[in-house]
Symmetry: C2
Subunit: 351 residues, 2 copies
C-alpha cells in the first residue's frame, strides 16, 4: 500500500516568525537572551572543534547576500542572511535571515527556522556575553548609539546578562530614539533619551555602536572616548562599513570572533593586517586574558560569526521539543525504497 | 491596529515534495524535462553573466553537505544538497536537497523549494540537453549503467529531448534493474534488462553511467568502449569518486560544466591539471565545437553545477505562478516599521 503521507524522516521542523515570537514569549525574552548566551559560550569554549569558514558572500550594488556554514562534526548549520542598507527606505528590513541545522551523519536537515528575530537575539546575547568578560566590574550604564532594530535587544541583553540598570539612547533620527524608548519602557531599565553621542556617553561604562550606513563613518571620534570603558562595536560589519576612528582602535585592546573574517568586515579593516587582536574563545577558555586593568579600553569588534548562529539554532531546536511552536515541513523526498524516487513520483499521479 | 498576520513581503512561496509531485503531473513529466532543458540552455548561453563559485562543501567520514550559490545579478539562488552513499543501507536517500531564490536588489527570498525530485529532473534534463549537442545524430539506444534513483529520469529525458526509443538497463543489483524496468514500463520506451555492462552497451550510441559508491571504481574499462559513442558520466561527482578508466578519458573529447569544479569532483580528477576540456556553454553559444566526426567519442563529465539548479528554480517559480502547487511560508520577519523589530515581537505577546 503506497501512501502520499511523507515519513518522519521527510519532515523538517520549521519555526516560523510567528512561532518564534510565541516561543520567545513562552520562555520570556530575557530568559531567551540568557539561554542563548549560555549556548554561545559553550560553543566558544569548544571552538577548535568547529569547521570554520569565512562567510560566502554575493555582493551587489544594493547589498550583500551571505551563507554562513559551520559544523561541529555531528551537527551542520548554516544561515542565509542579507544586508541591504537602503531597504528601510522601501519599508523593508535591512537584514533578514533564516537558518538550518542538519545531521552530519546522514545529511538530513533537522531544523529550519526564521532567523531575523533570532539573529537580533543572538547578536545581543553575544554582545552581553562578551561584555560580561570585558566590561568594567559593576557596570551600570550603557550608551546605545544607533537606535534601530538591534538597540532594544542589545539593551535588554546587557540588563539580564551584565546587570546594567540604565541605557542612554542616541540616534541622529529622533524618531528612532523615541521608538526605542517606548519599546523599552516598563521592562526594568532606566531609559534616558540623549541629545548627542557625547551626551549618551555620560557616565556610561559600556558604549554600544550600531548604526546602519554601508560606508566608512566616524560615529565615535578619539576625543569622545575616556579610559576604562568597554566598546561594543556592532555596526562595522562588512567591507567598507566602519563606525570608529582608527585612533580609538590604537588605544584599545581589541577582541574578535574569527580574525580572518573580522579583518575583512570589522572595524579593524581600517588597520594593518597584523594589528593585534585577541580571540574571544581564548578569553572564555582562559587561554588569553580579558580586561586586566580599570583604565583599559576594551573593544569588541563584532561582526557576527557562523558559530553564534549554530548555537542559536541548537537552542531553538532544544526549546521547541515537545511544544507546539513549530510545524513539520514536507521538505525532503523520502521514498520507501531510497532508490525508487521515480516510483514515488509516478505513484503520486492523480487517478 | 497591529496585526500578527505577516505582510506579503514576509511570505515566501514554498513548494513541498507533495506539491512538486503534483506540479510534475499537472505539466507532465516529459514536458517538465523539456522545459527544464530549455531554461538550462538559456542560462548556459548567458554563462558569462553569472557569479560562479565552486560549491562550498563540508566533508565528513560519512559524506558531504554542500551549498551551491550563484547569481545572474538580478536573482540569487542556492541549493543545499547532501551526498551520503551509505544512506541507502539505512533506508534513506543518498542525496536530498532544497533550494532558494532571492531578489538581489533587496535580499528577500522569493522561492523555497524541495529539490530532491527537482535535482533528479534537472540532472536528467542537463544530460539530455548535452546529449542533444554531442550524441551521434539519430541515436536510438542508451545503455543505462546503474539503475538507482536517477536512472528512470535519465531515460525519459533522453527519450523526450534526444529522441531515443530504447534503454538497456544494467546494475550489479538485479532488483534495481527490475525496479527501473517496472517504473519505465508503459512510458513509450523499449526497456531491455541486461546481464552485464557489456551486454547493455550492445548497439547503444549513448552510454550513461550512474553508480553510487564513494570510491574510485572502474565501471567502464577502455576495451568496453567502441568509437562514435557519447558517454554521459553522471556518477563521478565528488573527490575520490570516479567510474571510468583513465584510458577512456584519453580517447575522448571531454565536455564539462565549470572546469574548476569538475577538475576536483569529476572523472578528470584522475587526469593532469591541464587535461584538455571544452566548456559546454561555449558549445551552446557556438564559441566551441561539439561533435565533429562520427568516430569521435564524446564524454560529458557531469558533476552538476549551481547554474543548473538556478535554472530549475526559475522554471518552478514561473510554473507555480497562478497555481495551487505551493503555500506561503511565514519565513521573514517584516515589521510595519523596519526599525521596529523589537516592537513587533513585543506586540506579539499573549494578552
Amino acid at each position: 500500500m503506497t501512501t502520499l503521507t511523507p515519513s518522519d524522516k521527510a519532515l523538517v521542523p520549521f519555526v516560523s516568525v510567528d512561532h518564534m515570537m510565541q516561543l520567545v514569549h513562552h520562555i520570556g525574552i530575557e530568559e531567551v537572551l540568557a539561554g542563548l548566551a549560555d549556548y554561545i559560550e559553550a560553543d566558544f569554549r569548544r571552538w577548535e572543534l568547529f569547521d570554520k569558514t569565512p562567510r560566502v558572500a554575493s555582493h551587489s550594488a544594493e547589498g550583500v547576500i551571505e551563507l554562513m556554514p559551520t559544523s561541529d562534526g555531528e551537527v551542520y548549520g548554516f544561515k542565509y542572511v542579507n544586508g541591504h542598507p537602503k531597504n528601510t527606505k522601501e519599508g523593508l528590513q535591512t537584514v533578514t535571515a533564516f537558518g538550518l541545522l542538519a545531521d552530519v551523519g546522514n545529511g538530513y536537515p533537522v531544523l529550519l527556522s526564521e532567523m531575523t528575530i533570532l539573529t537580533a537575539l543572538r547578536t545581543a546575547a553575544t554582545s552581553a556575553l562578551v561584555a560580561r568578560y570585558l566590561a568594567p566590574k559593576g557596570a551600570t550604564t550603557m550608551a546605545m548609539i544607533g537606535n534601530g532594530a538591534q538597540s532594544e535587544f542589545q539593551s535588554l541583553a546587557m540588563k539580564r546578562i551584565v546587570g546594567i540598570d540604565t541605557v542612554r539612547l542616541w540616534d541622529t533620527d529622533r524618531a528612532a530614539t523615541e521608538k526605542a524608548a517606548r519599546n523599552l519602557s516598563g521592562l526594568g531599565l532606566n531609559v534616558v533619551k540623549c541629545d548627542s553621542a557625547e551626551d549618551s556617553m555620560e557616565g556610561a561604562q559600556i558604549i554600544t555602536t550600531c548604526t546602519a550606513d554601508k560606508q566608512y563613518a566616524t560615529i565615535l571620534t578619539d576625543n569622545m572616548i575616556g579610559s576604562g570603558v568597554h566598546i561594543n562595536a556592532i555596526g562595522g560589519d562588512c567591507p567598507g562599513k566602519t563606525e570608529l576612528a582608527p585612533a580609538i582602535l590604537d588605544r584599545s585592546d581589541v577582541f574578535v570572533e574569527f580574525p580572518p573574517q573580522t579583518r575583512i568586515e570589522g572595524e579593524i579593516q581600517q588597520m594593518a593586517e597584523d594589528f593585534t587582536v585577541t580571540e574571544l574563545w581564548k578569553v572564555m577558555t582562559g587561554a588569553a586574558q580579558g580586561r586586566t586593568s580599570a583604565d583599559q579600553i576594551t573593544l569588541f569588534d563584532s561582526v557576527g560569526f557562523a558559530i553564534e548562529d549554530f548555537s542559536a539554532l541548537r537552542y531553538v531546536r532544544d526549546r521547541i521539543a515537545g511544544t507546539d511552536y513549530y510545524h513539520d515541513l514536507d521538505l525532503l523526498a523520502d521514498p520507501d525504497d531510497p532508490r525508487d524516487l521515480f516510483g514515488m513520483v509516478k505513484r503520486a499521479a492523480p487517478q
